[in-house]
Amino acid sequence: MSETNSIPGATTQDATQEPPGGDGPVVEFKDVSITFDVKPILKDISFSVDRGETLVILGPAGCGKSVLLKLADGLIAPDSGSIRIFGQEITTMRERDQYKLRAHIGIVFQESALFDSLNVDDNVAFRLHEEHVPEAEAHTRVLEALKFVDLEGTSDKLPSELSGGMRRRVSIARAIISHPDLILYDSPTGGLDPITSTTIIELVMKQRDVSHTTSLLVTHRLQDAFALATHRYNTATGGMTPIPKDAAGHNVDQSTRFLMLNEGGIVFHGNTEELIHSDDPWIKEYLA
């Protein structure tokens, strides 16, 4: 990672894109349930995420982690319950109004979901083009975003010409280019080799520690989750370094919390130390 990388949106926020919602939780789920066909996926899920917090969502495959993320972005609607994003109820919101709200939300999909007929430049600039941002400004912001993910020089390439890791990084660049106040990562390291996974986690960490963006991260890789909890981004070295113990003896990132799902319900919600010291036999087995 280049240590001189600037962070898109770290220093400036569009005046027209002030985050709504005030000081309340950025994400708030209350008794949310959803069933596909006859199979309940999520049952009475309630939790909240405060501004600047990173919530790592863990759980076995098929427990509803990705569904939860899509619910948070309003891409699917729950059968019951309330979902408030920036204080606004999205379950009853019209799709047209949700598009406006999504201007404050970035999402990284499990399989990147890049537009395969557009090159990297146009993929990253998609939202800016939709907002009719002047071409010169859009180009500058695309270069900044690509520099952030260390992918300069790939502007003209099509997604099919990129590796899985590079596609994931383009997806992150596309998510952060609009300076979002909330980022949703859906298994950003899924299917990647360990070295590329570390690069992606460093980018997530960089966004967390430099821009302090609120985020929800779905993963089933414990090493990624604990790397986020126990490391911070070092701008001097351009990589992640272990968090030293503070005066209270904590060496974990206090803004990173965990939510564990199993069989459609929440089995744990708390910070890193509470998770490690949990007496729940299922959690112990999962972490083992």
């Binding site: 799709e95 598009y99 999402i107 890049l114 537009f115 395969d116 939709e130």
Partner: protein
């Protein structure tokens, strides 16, 4: 494979009609309100209109040729070979031009729309578009509807023209008909109602092709197999719809303009 229960089968069909109606209703209302993606409209016009020219010209031309050949042979027995031009022109303008063009464009473009949108759906690109604050109906469906309706109108005119020209070629060169007789009879036989009828049909066909193609694309599930299924369904359903609507429009037009 177990047979689906009649109740579930009917529910599925009713739900499909409901989803199709909602999609077309939303798209129609989006046509009359901004924002519009004109660049995408012109791209689709190029793909649907210019891209389909070769098959429309070839189909129209040889349809006119064979129509002329068959009708001239039959008319010759009654000593009415001079009426070949009128018969070819009437058939092409009223029925064969609009219907065959619709079916050819359906095979080429309804399948293309279903597979393109279907691939986008199964790879989460449609969800990504929504997540990036863009309405996929406005961005993907509306440009295809506008482009299909506009371009099918002009493609039908081209098909009619080359069909009549093909008929002339066969009548003059193979059947020994005077070219002026052929063209004069063609012109004389067509009345205002025939032309209106022939030009109204492609508007419906274009709408059917684009909405059916987009509908099956947007509701694709089940990976690459699902994309293949959506493509086939789009061609089959749009082709059947085109012929059914052709009958209905013909009936209405004959009532309005007379037989």
């Amino acid at each position: 494979m177990p047979l689906p229960s009649p109740e579930n089968f009917i529910k599925q069909k009713v739900a499909a009609v409901q989803e199709y109606s909602i999609l077309t209703g939303t798209a129609l209302s989006d046509i009359f309100s901004g924002p519009h993606y004109w660049a995408d409209v012109f791209t689709q016009m190029d793909s649907i209109g210019v891209g389909s020219m070769p098959i429309v010209v070839l189909t129209g031309f040889f349809t006119g040729c064979v129509l002329s050949l068959q009708s001239a042979t039959a008319l010759k027995e009654f000593g009415a070979i001079s009426k070949t031009g009128g018969l070819v022109a009437l058939s092409m303008v009223r029925e064969l031009g609009p219907v065959l063009t619709g079916l050819m464009i359906s095979g080429r473009n309804a399948s293309g729309m279903a597979s393109e949108l279907g691939s986008m759906k199964v790879t989460e690109q449609i969800d990504a578009m929504r997540a990036l604050g863009t309405d996929p109906v406005r961005k993907l469906v509306v440009p295809r509807i506008i482009a299909s309706v506009v371009m099918l109108f002009f493609l039908t005119i081209i098909s009619d023209a080359v069909g009549i020209a093909g008929g002339a070629l066969v009548s003059v060169n193979l059947m020994g008909l005077n070219p002026q007789t052929y063209l004069a009879d063609s012109y004389r036989s067509l009345v205002y109602g025939d032309v209106i009828q022939g030009l109204v049909k492609p508007l419906f066909s274009g709408f059917i092709i684009s909405t059916v193609g987009c509908y099956f694309g947007m509701k694709t599930t089940g990976g690459t197999q699902g994309v293949g299924r959506a493509t086939t369904q789009a061609v089959v359903v749009s082709s059947v719809f085109i012929i059914v609507v052709d009958f209905l429009v013909s009936r209405v037009m004959l009532v309005i303009f007379g037989g």
